[in-house]
Structure formats: structure tokens, C-alpha cells
Amino acid sequence: MTLDAKIPGGPLAQKWDRHRFELKLVNPANKKKFDIIVVGTGLAGASAAATLAELGYNVKNFCIQDSPRRAHSIAAQGGINAAKNYSNDGDSVWRLFYDTVKGGDFRAREANVYRLAQLSCNIIDHCVAQGIPFARDYGGLLDNRSFGGAQVSRTFYARGQTGQQLLLGAYSSLMRQAASGRVKIFPRRELMDLVVINGQARGIVVRNLINGQLESHDAHAVVLATGGYGNVFCLSTNAMSSNASAIFRAYQKGACLANPCFTQIHPTCIPVHGTYQSKLTLMSESLRNDGRVWVPKQPGDKRSADSIPEEQRDYYLEKKYPSFGNLVPRDVASRNAKEQCDLGKGVGETGLAVYLDFTDAIKRDGRDVVSSKYGNLFDMYEKITGDNPYETPMMIYPAVHYTMGGLWVDYNLMSTIDGLFVLGEANFSDHGANRLGASALMQGLADGYFIIPYTIGGYLAGTRFPAVDAGHEEFKNCEASVHQKTARLLKIKGKRTASDFHRELGLIMWDYCGMSRNETGLSKALGMIRKLKQEYWENVNIPGTGDEFNQSLERAGRVADFFEFGELMIVDALHRKESCGCHFNTAYQTEENEAKRDDENFAYVAAWEYAGSGSDPILHKEPLIFENVKLSQRSYK
């Protein structure tokens, strides 16, 4: 297999225009003859399904929840970037492009990122037209704020619920198309297999989660927008049903998985407090605009925050990074929090937390101003912890949040399987080794509203499709293998629950493949995971049957895939003998403890090809060529 990213020629700023002109078009009258499956209804999935239907295609849209409106994009808090330069502070498409490539520690494709920055402006225009109530200033124009990794204000927001509002916008467009009959929505369905016929993705097999029955659906192309794989770590900011199964099925059918070890640990989350805990809650990065991060200077200082005098506090981010201060990128902020806690300076009952203090902001701007910016976040914090952040500093600690890795896609967002397109967090494309804040919403919507509508047309217009429907033998084969796997899981009737195994897997991943890694730890973890996986298939206990509403069975299937995925993440982390962005191998660091890249040997995308169960995956390399930015050591000092 050779990876062809299909990046158009010509100067960077003209590549997308040129490509759109070169793409073949589907005649408007012919669009209704094409069926497209979209799996997922988050920002990427819902925007793609709605826009493809607006163009006239027949769309079938699947989601795991009871309504498309509940996809996990809904939980994004802080905002969405766009290079509008409304703040008149020197922003431009080029600067957003540069910040994103640099923030990703030079492990993303220039052409993709530039296109993303270009489209960012169209997204805001469209979202305002949909009725999204973005924050506005007193003159009635749109307001902006700053986010980590940038020195301009380019983040548009809707209180602390930007993801919710953007998703409800995409959902409303989707509902409009559902009413028109051009989209058919299939809620409470989980993808069980991808059907590939003659080398083309031609359909999917899903389980109807209400009655357990399998359903086969055929199409001319399949779009996966099924999100990230952060729940490999068990505890993460992801929703409970977020899973890696859909992209893992695609991987097993021949789609390469790229950079799986690039996982982002978000610096500002509510710390872990018990073994029963089911998820971690993010506190938006926007809080770092006004909150000051600190720990006691003296290790082991157990006094309460208010009894530690100013001169005995260590504002370590402001000290170490004077120009970016508390707004350094996420990977840098997270590693520094871990470093402080490892030094024994962590706070709270577990010692695994740092303070995020708003005292100075409240003194400077008044409680009302702080409340209008962050009120809902403060309320949320108080609900969960029982502490009031207006009075005592928040305690925060890093948590798994986003996965930059995902299915490998070319410039058209097509995977290594013809006709299988991958959007949003499920693909690997734009964030390199670290994603900047407020860029995930931008990417999901760029993929769905403004990229896939053109590129899928190019594929459909230029491809011959043999007649295939859901009665085809390959659909039957896929259904049979799903039945077999389900029966095998249900037959085990062991002693431990799937959740119990999941927690143990998560701890292994967090300890050895989390914020920092090293070869010894990674190799050890690989052995531990393989052993635990073996036990899983001998000792998991799943109640009930496969022919009914069975949440335990759903979970068990996802956990089975998390084991496989975790292994692949470690294989990838072991092979990348450098540090970059969120992949921090302790053997490769600068004198200042920053990630030290090896551009000579590792400036490539690592795309892994499945080689069968029990065999080592095959590595393919897509070299990253930087013609427009100069590779440099990231510095946020």
C-alpha cells in the first residue's frame, strides 16, 4: 500500500480553490441517485448529513443516542476559532494556519491546515445565519476571546456552551432535511461492521439497540464521523458511549489508523476523587484567560489555599512562560501540572491537583463580570465538588480529552478504503501532535459543511459502481461474524464486569501511555494489556441476551475494542522515538523539559495497516513536507 495524500499542486493559498475546480461534479439531477451513509451526528456528522441532503443526495444518518442532538460535541464549552480579525489585532488566515501547525508541533499537513483556516470564516457566517446566539458586545457585533496557543482574540463563543449551540444549529439543519425526506435518521443504532465489496465501502451493519436485531444498509459511500477514542483510558472527558469500535472496524477492513498515540490530556479538569467515578468533567480552557494557576512553593504544604500567603505561592506557568503565561498550549500546561504534583506540590486530598484562582480577577473586574463570563462553569464546578469557586480557588488536574490520531485520510478526507470518508475527531488530519483550544469545533464543521460536500461529489462522479444491495452475500457474511462475536462474549459468563476490566485497562494506559511515556513503561504496559485482554475473553460476565435492550452487552463490545486500540496506541508510541506535542517520551526532551522532536527521522504520519489478529500491524509513512513554515522548537516563553 502506498499512501497518496492527493495534495493539490500550486501555492498553498490557492490549493483548495484549484482542487475544487479540478474535482468532478455530479449533475444536480443525478444526485438523488446516490445513497450516502453518515455514521455519527456530532458537529461533523450532522453538518455533513444536512449539507449532503441540501445538495440533493439521499442520506441515511445513524447515531448511538436516542436523538442526533445528544452527540458529544454538545459538551464542548469554550468556543470556535475563526480568522475573522474582528478584533483588529493582527489575525489572518495565515496566522491561524501558522498557530495551528506550530501548536500541533509540526506533525500536521500544511495543505489541510491552511484549508481549515480559510474555511473558518465561512463557518461563523453560516452558524450566525442558522440562529446561533453567539456572545455579542454592546454594539451588537460578535465578541471574541483568547485561547491557549494564540496571542490574538479569535475565539467566538456562546457562554460556556458553544458546542451545544453549534450542535443544535447543525441538528436543526439536519431536522429540516429529515422533514423534507432527504435524510432518514436511525437513532439508537450502533455500527457493528463496515461492508467492503470489490474494494469499495458499500454499506454497514448496525445493531438496533432497542431490540438487539442486526440491520444491513447499503450505499454508494460511507462517511464515518464517530468521534475520538479517548475512552480507551476509561476516565476521560468523553461521554459514556463514546467509543473506538466504529473506526476500529474500519481499520480491520483495511483503513489505516494514523498516529494513534497522539492523545491530548486537557489541563483544566475536575480532579479524580473516587474509584467509582464514571467520568471526568472539563472546566473550559477559557478559564485560563482570568484564572491564575498556582501551587504552594513548599512541597507537602497542606494548609488551605487562603492561609498560604502570596509570597509562598508558586505561579509556575507565569514564571516559566512570561509571554504566554497561563495561556500556554494544553500539552505544556498539562505536563507542568503533573511535574508540580510529582514534586509533591500538588493540592487537595489526593495531592493530584493544582489551584486555578480567580481572586485577582474578581478583585480587578468585580464578581459580576467574572460571573457573566464563567457563571455556568462555576455553577457546574460547585455542583460536582460542593466548593464555591468565587470563595475558594478551583482545584484542577489534567484529564484525557481529545485524540488527534484517527483514521488516515487524504486531502479529500477519504481513507485508504475507496468510498470510506472520515470526518471530525475520527480522522487524524489537522491537529498534528496537539490540538489547540477551540479548533475541534472548527474542524468538525469545516469537514461537514464545506469539505465533504465537494470531495464526495468528486468521488461519486468519477467512480463506477457495480449494482450492490443489502441482500449481497458480503452483508450476510458481516452479519454472521457479528453474531458470532456477540455469542462468544455472552457465553463467557465469568466473574468480572466489563466496567471492572475497563477501569483496569484505563489505569494502565494512564500510567504508561498518558502525559509522559518511556520505553520501559510502554513495553511493560503492552504485556499487561495483552494479559488483561486474555482474561477478559475468559472471565467477563455479561448478563442478558443479544436479542433485547442490553446496555451491558453494548459496553462489553466496546471494551473488547478498547483493548485492541490500546495495544495499537502503545505500538505507535513505542515506535516514535522522539517527543512531539502530546507524545512526550521522557528520553527525548530539551534542557528545559520541553518535547524534543527529531525532524530528520520522524517528520511523518505513522499510518498503521491491520495485518490480522495476532500479527503486528504494518507501518506506512506519509512524509510531512513543510514548504511554508519553518520547523522550530516550540517556545511559549
Binding site: 453538518s47 449539507t51 441540501e54 443516542q65 436516542d66 436523538s67 442532538r69 445528544r70 458529544h72 454538545i74 459538551a75 475573522k84 461563523i124 457566517d125 453560516h126 450566525v128 445565519a129 440562529g131 446561533i132 446566539p133 455579542r136 451588537g140 457585533l141 456562546a158 457562554r159 451545544q164 449551540q165 443544535l168 441538528y171 436543526s172 439543519s173 431536522m175 429540516r176 429529515a178 422533514a179 437513532p187 461521554a239 459514556m240 476523587h273 473516587g274 467509582y276 467520568k279 468533567t281 472539563l282 457546574m380 455542583k383 460536582i384 465538588t385 460542593g386 459543511y449 464545506f450 464486569t497 466496567s499 471492572d500 460476565n541 448478563p543 442478558g544 433485547e548 435492550f549 451491558s552
Partner: protein, 251 residues
């Protein structure tokens, strides 16, 4: 705050499938940390049920941070429990006392059929939005985002309505199972904004018609919906819906 451990008795609605008659069953939840969320408490109970070879309690949940709208049950007669402005996943056990008995039931409303135990079918809410809860704009044709200034207070008012998470608590809490708050919130959000005005009349008329067609009841000003809404959506949105509807019918 430091956590305590409490013991509880649960009476939970068990119904193995929609067509089968259900009943309340009693379970004990012991050694529950007061730092747990309500759903984490149910997780602990379920883990024990599985270990004892029993069928775990089915309940809907997803984001567990109060924004997706997937969770929701009637707890001691109150939708999402007794704490105001709180979804079930954000209700924490520190609001209960040792020895409490907690009754947990699904949303009950004619358009919400029980699927299993506490899980109900809320697809009627999607149908309501399909009837007109959108602005008809295709991707690609929008003017510059700052082309139409919108007064800050208007945007704020629209946001207050747009904060609805579609959980269905308002309907479960209403003695008539009316969806007026849900529909009112969407109609208000869109009709307040200049972008939503061209379709305002059609939207109000069609969404109200659809509400009736789907079997939701009428509003009799009980205000239970406002009391139970986890996002604090005000019944002013219902008043606004009524105004929009009347404008539509008489023009």
C-alpha cells in the same frame, strides 16, 4: 468538601420491555459516597446486580455533565430529583441522607413509551423540531457574520431559550404532559433573532399543530415545567409562543 458514606433503600421501576407490565422493586444501595453523582450510585448498584446474576437497571445517560439531555428519571416524584436547575447526572448524593428511601421512575407521558425500566422513547421531540424548529438556510449562502448587528440583550434572551437540552423533564413534570415549554423555548430562540423572523409565523403554527398531533396535552399554567427544567428555562417562553401563535393565526 470531604465525602461521607451513606446507605439507602431504592424503589426502582422495573419493566423488561414496553409491552410488559412493570412494577417497583426494592434494592439496597450501601456504602455510597456522598461525592458520587446519582448515576454513579446507580452504576454501583448495577455492578452488584450483575455480580449476583441479576438484570441491571436500564437507564439512559451519556455526557454525565448535564448538557446532552440523555438522562432523566422521576426521583421521589420530582423530574431529575429535588435540586433545582440540575440534571440527574449532576445531582450528587450529598443531597441525600443516610437511611433515605428513594423512589425512581421513568418519565411518564403518553408520547414517551417505556423501552425498558427507566428508558423511554423521546423521538416525539425530534418530530417537533422537524415541524419547524429551524431556520431555512443552506450551507454556503450566508452573509458576513457581522452584517446584521443584534442587540446584546436580544442575543442573551435568545440564548436563554436556546439553552434547552431536550431532556423532556418539562413534559414529565406537567400534569397534562404538555410540551409547551419545549416548543416555546425553540420558537422564542428563533423568533427573537432577525434571522428567524421570516419563518416565525409558519414555525409557531406548525410546531403547535404537531404538538397536538403527537398527543401532548395543553398548557394549564401549572408552571411545573419551569420548576423542574434543569436549565432554568422560564415560562415566559410559553407566553412568547402564545403571542407568536396568535400573531400567526390572526394575520
Amino acid at each position: 468538601m470531604s465525602a461521607k458514606r451513606i446507605n439507602l433503600t431504592l424503589k426502582v421501576w422495573r419493566q423488561s420491555a414496553g409491552e410488559i407490565i412493570g412494577s417497583l422493586k426494592t434494592y439496597s444501595a450501601s456504602d455510597i459516597s456522598t461525592d458520587m453523582s446519582f448515576l454513579e450510585m446507580l452504576d454501583v448498584v448495577n455492578e452488584n446486580l450483575i455480580k449476583n446474576g441479576e438484570d441491571p437497571i436500564a437507564f439512559d445517560h451519556d455526557c454525565r455533565e448535564g448538557i446532552c439531555g440523555m438522562c432523566g428519571s422521576v426521583v421521589n416524584g420530582r423530574a431529575h430529583g429535588h435540586e433545582s436547575n440540575t440534571t440527574l447526572c449532576q445531582l450528587h448524593m450529598r443531597h441525600f441522607s443516610d437511611g433515605d428511601t428513594i423512589v425512581i421512575e421513568p418519565w411518564r407521558a403518553k408520547p414517551f413509551k417505556v423501552i425498558k425500566d427507566l428508558v423511554v422513547d423521546r423521538s416525539a421531540l425530534d418530530e417537533l423540531i422537524q415541524a419547524g424548529g429551524f431556520i431555512s438556510v443552506n450551507a454556503g449562502g450566508a452573509p458576513d457574520a457581522n452584517a446584521i448587528p443584534i442587540a446584546r440583550e436580544t442575543a442573551e434572551a435568545a440564548f436563554n431559550a436556546a439553552a434547552c437540552i431536550g431532556c423532556g423533564a418539562c413534559i414529565a413534570a406537567c400534569p397534562n404532559a404538555s410540551a409547551m415549554l419545549f416548543v416555546g423555548a425553540k420558537v422564542s430562540h428563533l423568533s427573537l433573532l432577525p434571522q428567524g423572523k421570516p419563518e416565525a409565523k409558519k414555525r409557531a403554527r406548525q410546531m403547535v399543530r404537531k404538538m397536538k398531533e403527537l398527543g401532548f396535552g395543553n398548557c394549564s399554567n401549572e408552571a411545573e415545567c419551569e420548576a423542574e427544567c434543569p436549565k432554568g428555562i422560564s415560562i415566559r417562553e410559553i407566553a412568547r409562543l402564545n403571542r407568536e401563535f396568535i400573531k400567526a393565526e390572526f394575520s
